[in-house]
Amino acid sequence: MAKVLMKGNEAMALAAIKAGADAFYGYPITPQNELPEYMSKHMKEHGRVFLQSESEVAAINMIYGAAGAGARVITSSSSPGIALKQEGISYMAGAELPAVIVNVMRGGPGLGGIQPSQGDYKQITRGGGNGDYYLYSLAPESLQEAVDLIKESFDIADYFRNPVMIAVDGLIGQMMEPVDFELETPKWDLPKKTWATDGNQKGRDKNIINSLYLDPNDLEKHDLKLKKKYDEMKRDHQRYELINMDKADIAIVAFGSTARVCRTSIQLLEEEGINCGMIRPITIYPFPSKAFDEIPKSVKDLLVVEMNTGQMIDDVKIVNEGKLPIHFYGRSGGIVPEAEEIVEKVKEIMGGE
């Protein structure tokens, strides 16, 4: 199939269908509505389940139930709705249930606004709900990347038996770009879901899906088992892209659509003879610490650019270990920074030395 032009939300929905999603449960919220709307039209054609729930809280618990029954499940929402889902997400991590959760971020806190934002970075990368857990969190910068990552994310979720978060913003949800749905994406080696409560107990013992461990010793053991997964994510499954880093004097750190704006900034700077590179985290959890080991000596400063007031900057500080000066440029409230603003910031940093 040749490339097709699709809206981000629709493209992510189709990617999920192509990845074999059995069920979608969700609740309307701007700017992700085209995703459930697309699902409502097309899941039926494939004999799959689409259901609009009464709330985000119900949606994530439907996801819990269906995932526990062994189905491939996906839900989507936007920032305030994802906040409501946190209880269920924590329970899923605790009960070791796989699912794909799409967060089309908008400005906050509270009801905030409906324009693009990356204001949920901390909520996404710190677990979000109660207890010791994390979500494998992917932050694509284009529709093609979003589609490819969603296709793979079901495998990732199944492999880790842990929810995977697709963290995009309203920009990616709303924009249209040509996408190729037939590109090969990695297939993970997955065991059968022998743990599922699938209503077919013939010839096996009963299965239980549960996150309750009343004995502190049992719960600690369970927490450590979960930690092992997160350690494996950190060790083997960091993803990032290095852009123009070879001779860079300064490096931007940015993810998602912000990184895309920064690509234009880098081109504009190049035209003015300034070498600017970029580290683009693709996984925001695990944070790609390894990318920072690859920073060449020529780089003298780091500039973190985000669509928030500075959330990822803390992770950059942790992995930078005080080596390079860290600067920040951010826009929030739903404002997408323009490439020229970032160019000015880079020049200000470089001129200041």
Binding site: G68, Y91, A95, D198
Partner: protein, 253 residues
């Protein structure tokens, strides 16, 4: 060797785990009825039960079918999620009055509203047992609890919620009945109601809820026998027993 005759056996629907209920609590009877119905309808090996939060939180260990433990109040949503992807399974939730009538009322209403083909076993003992006897939406006027130390007052907490009556008003619901297990006659009646609910589900006829009037001797501060009497004298007059909705009957007429 003397001949022995088995006159009573524990249902296969229950595991060998010890029940974690106080003496005199009727959870045990209700568990037995659920288990017996599933076995008698020959659906045990395709049943998925959902434990809620409350005294019955650990009953995923007690039933011998597949079980999922749900967050407080969310069991009907979990049931929906399962049933939609496994339409041929039998799915039931087991919820107390705190779980269903308070924190989870939205999920319960909407499962009925959508006509989900699941069965809710609703145990109403008019109090929060697990957390030590706090007031529930179903606590009676004048009833003392740890959060209504002077007895529930209408002006402060409203009138107790009648779940079966309320759920019966939902167009999507198929079968709603309130039963009690305070004596053998009513236990038999309750089982009949529960079995009917599971049969309706088996026939894919939609949403069913059976409300059980139950007791909590410890948190009510009564001996088991007195608790049963109290339920009969105080709860049943306010929460009358009977069928509140039967679409299968309406359809037949």
């Amino acid at each position: 060797m003397a001949k022995t005759k088995t006159i009573y056996e524990k249902s296969n629907g229950l595991s060998d785990a010890h029940l974690s209920y106080c003496p005199g609590c009727t959870h045990g009877i209700i568990h037995k009825l659920v288990a017996e119905c599933l076995v008698e309808l020959d659906v045990l090996d395709r049943t998925i039960g959902i434990s809620s939060v409350g005294c019955s939180a650990l009953n995923y260990d007690f039933f011998s079918c597949d079980m999922q433990q749900a967050a407080h109040g969310r069991a009907p949503a979990v049931a929906t999620g399962i049933k939609r992807v496994k339409p041929d399974s039998i799915v039931f939730t087991y919820q107390g009055d705190g779980d269903l009538a308070s924190i989870g009322i939205a999920e319960a209403i909407h499962a009925a509203h959508r006509g989900e083909n699941v069965t809710i076993v609703f145990v109403n003992n008019a109090i929060y047992g697990m957390t030590g006897g706090q007031m529930a939406p179903t606590t009676l006027i004048g009833q003392k609890t740890t959060t209504s130390p002077d007895g529930r007052e209408e002006a402060h907490s409203g009138l107790p919620l009648k779940i079966s009556e309320m759920m019966a008003t939902i167009p999507g619901a198929t079968y709603i009945e309130r039963v009690s297990v305070h004596n053998p006659k009513h236990v038999i009646k309750a089982k009949k109601a529960l079995k009917k609910a599971f049969e309706i589900q088996k026939n894919k006829q939609g949403f069913t809820l059976i409300e059980f009037i139950s007791t909590c001797p410890v948190n009510w501060g009564m001996k088991p026998k007195d608790a049963v009497d109290w339920a009969v004298d105080n709860m049943i007059p306010y929460y009358p027993l009977g069928v509140f909705k039967d679409k299968t009957n309406e359809e037949a007429n």
